[in-house]
């Protein structure tokens, strides 16, 4: 008994030592990770608040002299016509999200609650479409948009976001499985029509799934560059992505203005992230399971 005591103490000490070392390693790696994620953005914020002369005479890691110098922001916002970009992005975002929620939940309602000939085929058609990466088919999609006279209209991205968005259908389908069919049945006993059941019972109960769809679609539409770039080159139709992209030419050397434009683009994302954090994490974790 007595002989055993010191060894116990010794192993306990090496145990705590190992734990401390592990803890240091853990927090060090987390800090490096956080710095790697933050520094590229923070230096852009620094540069956006510097004057032209200050920008060229100081290094990127040096904070700005005056934290309230918003000249670059005014310049970027006005000259870059970023308001037009925000307006168009908002219009396209809202119409597409409402459209995707309605069409997605309607087809999901039919596929989950009704039995009919060709149902399997239809489900398969939606499933198969997820395998087609839309970036590969743009060559041919462009001709279709052109033939429909939608080129250079806001409807072009809207119909594309609606037509190729299968993930919403999946999220709704999965969620509908958790809503008891007995709810539909008892409403039918009260004489409610199918339309009434969809609008009064199903759609309100789908709300959590709608939140997921809104987040996933919202992020992807706000950040999409390719679709508006290809289908709406007209300046009056520029969205936030294409408005930002235009800074590449004329402001090539004025990095402080470009940096202000970058931060202007990031602000709405940051606000949305801070206010909807919990929903955003859940949304992406859920949406990915269908990937």
């Amino acid at each position: 008994m007595q002989a055993a005591k010191p060894t116990v103490r010794k192993s306990a000490r090496s145990h705590t030592l190992r734990y401390t070392a592990a803890a240091i390693l853990k927090y060090a790696s987390l800090t490096i990770g956080a710095l790697a994620a933050l520094i590229p953005i923070v230096v852009v914020l620094f540069a956006s608040l510097k004057t032209g002369g200050e920008y060229s005479s100081t290094g990127p890691l040096t904070p700005p002299g005056n934290w309230l110098n918003f000249d670059n922001y005014t310049k970027a916002f006005v000259n870059g016509k970023m308001l037009v970009g925000f307006m168009n992005t908002m219009i396209i975002l809202i119409v597409s999200i409402i459209g995707a929620t309605l069409t997605g939940s309607m087809i999901a309602y039919i596929l989950s609650r009704f039995q009919f000939r060709g149902k399997k085929l239809l489900l398969g058609a939606f499933l198969l479409a997820t395998l087609i990466p839309s970036v590969t088919t743009q060559v041919a999609t462009f001709q279709i948009i052109n033939d429909l006279n939608l080129f250079n209209t806001r409807l072009a991205p809207i119909v594309l976001y609606l037509g190729t968005d299968i993930i919403a259908v999946y999220i709704f389908l999965q969620f509908l499985d958790t809503i008891a069919v007995s709810l539909d049945e008892s409403a039918m006993l009260d004489g409610a029509s199918y339309f009434k059941i969809y609008f009064r019972i199903i759609l309100p109960l789908l709300l959590p799934a709608v939140v997921t769809v809104v987040i996933i679609k919202g992020v992807s539409i706000y950040n999409d560059f390719y679709t508006p770039f290809l289908y709406m080159p007209k300046t009056s139709l520029q969205v936030i992505s294409t408005a930002l992209f235009k800074f590449k030419g004329p402001y090539g050397s004025q990095w402080e203005v470009i940096c202000a434009a970058i931060i202007i683009t990031i602000i709405p994302t940051l606000i949305a992230f801070l206010s909807l954090q919990k929903y955003i994490y859940n949304g992406f974790a859920q949406g990915s399971e269908k990937g």
């Binding site: 956080a34 990127p60 309607m106 395998l131 088919t137 279709i144 259908v169 936030i240 992505s241």
Partner: protein
């Protein structure tokens, strides 16, 4: 109205728009793409000639077209770094950590950013005397400084790095969600059995999220093959950073060779679908 008639009415009215959209914007382009790929169409003439397999022949025989697939390899290998980091951070943040939500938020946030903003952020990051060079200098690592976006031997590593920065947070949050759904009892039981963190990772966490890791790897492979946003915005495909999708877009819309571009898109579609089908096969095997 009887439920029988209602049923027909609702099925028709609720499916017609989604089906029309699906066929016009998801399937019709694929069908047309196959058709165009056998022609010499320039995208605007009223007429075109069928040229058989000419377009496919030029893709596979002219090294100019096929060599860009090499660039995908950089993004492909970067995927593994991305998965490794995501898995590492997800694992340590699933245990008790101070400031958990803070680190979680910061690591995930880049994924939400606008693609063009990320392109510019990394142009600023990699430019000569830019952020990266300054950080290296501050750390006394001056000798590592390179022309990150001008040297054709390094440019793809830089761009793939930007891509890891952008997408790591997504895999991280998905893995974190999967790990947190593992029951707490299992950890407690293993604690009693004297398992350490590594054992827990190896024998509890890894087996239960194996499927979702596989799924993410395969998704990233398709992503690597169809890399477009970051290189297009940052370099426009110059200095050897051209990817297959940038090239396809240029061939179609800059040089007006819709026939050839369609053939390239068919090749790409074929590769991506094959990869996805292999994944589906593996996932089924696992169940």
């Amino acid at each position: 109205m009887s439920y029988r008639n209602q049923r027909i009415l609702i099925i028709l009215s609720f499916t017609i728009i989604p089906i029309a959209l699906l066929f016009v914007f998801a399937y019709l382009p694929v069908v047309n793409m196959f058709r165009y790929s056998f022609t010499d169409w320039n995208g605007y003439s009223k007429t075109f000639e069928y040229v058989g397999f000419e377009n496919y022949k030029s893709i596979f025989t002219d090294p100019k077209y096929f060599s860009v697939f090499k660039v995908s390899l950089y993004y492909f290998f970067a995927t593994f770094a991305q998965m490794g980091l995501a898995l590492y951070f997800a694992t340590i943040l699933s245990f008790k950590v101070k400031g958990k939500n803070f680190f979680k938020g910061i690591l995930f946030f880049p994924y939400l950013l606008n693609g063009v903003a990320i392109g510019f952020i990394f142009l600023f990051f990699f430019k000569p005397d830019g952020t990266f060079d300054t950080v290296l200098q501050a750390l006394g690592l001056d000798f590592l400084i390179q022309k990150w976006l001008l040297n054709p031997h390094i440019i793809n590593v830089s761009l793939a790095g930007a891509s890891v920065w952008r997408y790591m947070g997504f895999n991280f949050i998905v893995f974190l969600g999967a790990i947190s759904s593992i029951s707490k009892d299992i950890y407690e039981a293993s604690d009693i059995d004297g398992a350490n963190r590594w054992h827990q990772f190896r024998h509890i966490i890894l087996p239960s999220i194996k499927r979702i890791v596989q799924l993410n790897i395969i998704l990233s492979i398709s992503g690597a093959i169809s890399a477009f946003d970051i290189p297009y915005i940052m370099t426009g495909g110059s200095n050897g950073s051209n990817t297959f999708v940038i090239q396809t877009v240029d061939v179609a819309f800059k040089y007006g060779k819709v026939g050839l571009a369609s053939a390239m898109a068919v090749v790409l579609l074929f590769i991506v679908v094959t990869v996805t089908l292999i994944q589906q096969f593996f996932v089924k095997e696992d169940k």
